[in-house]
Amino acid sequence: MIHVTRLSIELTNHCNLRCRHCADERHGCEGDLKMETMEKVLCNAGAYGFEHLSFTGGEPTMHPSFFRILDMITGAGYKFSFVSNGFNFTEIYERLLPYRDKLGGITFSLDGADEETHDRLRGKGSYRRVMQAISVCLVKDIPFNFNSVIVSFNREGLADMAELAAKLGSCGLRFGHLTPTPSSIKNDLVLSPAERREAEAVILRMRETSPVTVFMAPGNYTSFLFPCAPLEMQEFNIDWRGNVTMCCLLSGHGDASAKGDVIGSLNDITFSEAFEMLAEANMKFRREKEAMYSRDRFKDSDHFPCWYCLNYFGKVDWLRDFHEDPWHDTVWTDQIKRRENTNAGTQ
């Protein structure tokens, strides 16, 4: 049996912030993960070797039964961690303390080394809320780290962010590329492929000297074909609707027709059926990517693995309407998609 190490669950797509870079369609405040789905997961996940649950969102702490869920999972012996924008942390941290021993850490979003930069992306007052959140963590001995999305106006301040993270006592700082959406492009936030690589080079250099652990989230330019946990079948993702998906980053991205990353709904199928279907889909994906690479049909931009997946699942087809955008020419054409699918099918 395959042993997947990470179980990532999008608890809700409600959020208390309206960040400029966030996909509106993704966090449209539509709903929360059903408790029945959570129970189903907990009953079955242990058998597959899962010991740790990661909660994402939306803002996961906004799930109306967040603390009931923590009761359930810690009672069942799981450890957990979650991402948060930190905005409501001072209101909820007290209820979190009883679960401290099972809490691996909190990843707070921090998108600027100063108030102005962070708030420009996430809204006025959000920087100070994150600072309050980490103040609490420091006193209460809750491990925390930062997640920073690289956008056009913070990319010059990456080193400052690392310095800030170190001074504040963060366990680490993870940078990630912004996935283009219509709104992030309209807001002029998205880096071009060349700018992405410049930022990656800065981060690589920082890793040698930074006093805090600095790393890139999967998605950076690489010659590895399967450089991330989902593609290595090391992560099992469930979105707030109860769908098992190929990757948390892809969930909810793209228009309604781009649902190729959805394996199935835990409302309709069992956990073990979903697991088998995911393994099958993963194998198919790997086969097709290897075939495309071996035929030398990779575009340079396909070395950005998340970009490859977005194309593969047809989630950036809308970019064809953005003729001036530097990513426009890297969107796969229907012709490429048909040809690759046909080729893979005849392997």
Binding site: T90, E115, M131, S135, V139
Partner: protein, 92 residues
Amino acid sequence: MLEPNNMVKPHCDVVSTELENKEAVLLHLGTKKYYSLNETGLCIWRMLANGNTPGRISEGLRDEFDIPAVKANESVINLLKELLHEKLIEIA
């Protein structure tokens, strides 16, 4: 020099966070240094944040903790001096 009638206020670069156990953490956004306040310190902080002079804060502290005026005054002045030195407050 801090005088009893000086108005003091939290420095604009300071983020204060009250905790559940009647304590607080101050974080200076410039220096990135954390400071903790105990219950008395938090009481003083709240009053200065509400625009009270050191004299008024001393009176408030005396009432809150039922301590002699001299002791309250000394506690307030000592803390305000320290806060001022660390640039956690500024004279308004």
